[in-house]
Symmetry: C2
């Protein structure tokens, strides 16, 4: 891992037990990167490196990487997937969006559908929202009792530990945008007919709960950034900074995993093809 | 659809009821394309168009495209996914490989796991092998009785008709390679340590059944190329011809589907973002 990678990670990673507050983290922070154009080219290059590393992960076939994206509406979860993982293509990468649970899903515990969607060995799984909704929207909207929600932080930590111990590396990214930036992005969806489909009037209602969501994020970060599955708070007001930061961490993590083309269990000379 | 697209499709599409024989189809056919370099650039451009069309399909959210890839070992199923769909990225595209059914899958009918993996609305699903294995390997290896296999062609047609009537467009591609070409590609896997993991000694055993597989493909093509879900025999000895042909058909099909950004159900002026 390079010094630059190390310092980018150190800046955004939430240390276990850290008393993190989103209000003290600048969503427009771009200090670790140069100017926009060069950073965008560097991100495109990182995306290709991620592709090459994913090839090796796929060939190795024994471990997986789970990338969890959380963030308020318009924070750029889809855009992150497009920019960081587009060069990686669909072979060996799966994306699972988690919306309001269906009736069938509600008939199970909240981790049931999540476990079912976890990436198979050799692949990268990307969660667009995740089990963390159970301590975010469910908390803010009082959809579950405080007692149940209180239990969930530890349950989630135990679940993620289980995944990690069984061969899945986990990276969690909270896309951190300002309330002003959200306003601009929502307005853009209203103004641009091509973006109308992305506008959901319900988002405005969620926006009135902005502060409560920020508080819920803080608790989630404090309770669930663990040594085995760390949270990262990504400055996301600038899309190019967001993409560069996440691409850097994903690439460095895959490099640390260092997947290997498996050695043949046979001797090449043993076969003749007729 | 352009004249060129029409003629490419006409050349490789299997007409319903056509008495097709793979032995009469040239796996090295490249007549419809110019020279290699220009064709490769054109394919890369098509991949970007597919990406743009997929964006609209995703926004529309009401229909799906299912791409089924079949072909003998080394015929290039993974390579097709890489080259035709890499620009499309993982958002809105899922790849499902079908291997030997697990015990749990075998406890259900052979279409059960297939139905479960069908693409959700707004997305492209790619099957790397598919339910057709139930009339290919199971036929050649006598894993199911002739009576059961005989029933399956009609069952598969009915299943696919159901999918089409419920909003999924289906394209089926048989990657057609020669026995000589397979020999070269298997040898390459033995020679190149980076490809060792792709070599499966069992493939050599399948190779000894080459003619029986070709016969099973012929019957599958004759029985299951339907107006609603046509088969295409793709000349696949040359990878660039294979990629160009499939990219052309996928792009033309998505263009015919003509997905639309949904119209807003509200008036933009109705909302103020505070």
């Amino acid at each position: 891992m390079t010094e630059l990678e190390r310092s980018i990670i150190a800046r955004v990673r939430v240390e276990p037990g850290e008393n993190v507050s989103l209000r003290e983290r600048d969503p427009r922070d771009s200090r670790l990167f140069g100017e926009e154009k060069g950073t965008k080219s560097a991100t495109a290059a990182l995306a290709k490196e991620i592709d090459a590393l994913q090839d090796r992960l796929y060939a190795e076939g024994s471990r997986a990487l789970l990338v969890i994206l959380q963030g308020t509406d318009t924070s750029g979860k889809d855009g992150t997937i497009r920019n960081v993982f587009n060069a990686t293509g669909p072979l060996g990468v799966s994306v699972t969006p988690f919306g309001v649970p269906s009736k069938a899903e509600q008939a199970h515990d909240y981790l049931w559908r999540v476990h079912a969607a976890c990436p198979r060995r050799g692949t990268i799984g990307i969660f667009n929202r995740s089990h963390y909704e159970s301590v975010l929207v469910e908390k803010v909207r009082n959809l579950s009792s405080p007692e149940l929600i209180e239990q969930r932080y530890d349950q989630i930590n135990a679940f993620e530990k289980h995944l990690v111990e069984n061969g899945t590396t986990i990276l969690k990214f909270l896309l951190h945008i300002s309330k002003d930036e959200q306003k601009e992005r929502l307005q853009e969806r209203l103004n641009d007919p091509r973006k109308h489909w992305k506008f959901n009037p319900g988002d405005l209602d969620d926006r009135t709960h902005w502060d409560e969501y920020q508080d819920a994020y803080d608790i989630m970060l404090q309770r669930c950034s663990t040594p085995h599955a760390p949270w990262h708070v990504i400055p996301a007001d600038r899309k190019w900074v967001r993409n560069a930061t996440i691409a850097t961490i994903v690439k460095a993590t895959l490099e640390e995993m260092d997947p290997q083309y498996p050695k043949a269990q046979w001797k090449p000379g043993a076969f003749t093809i007729s």
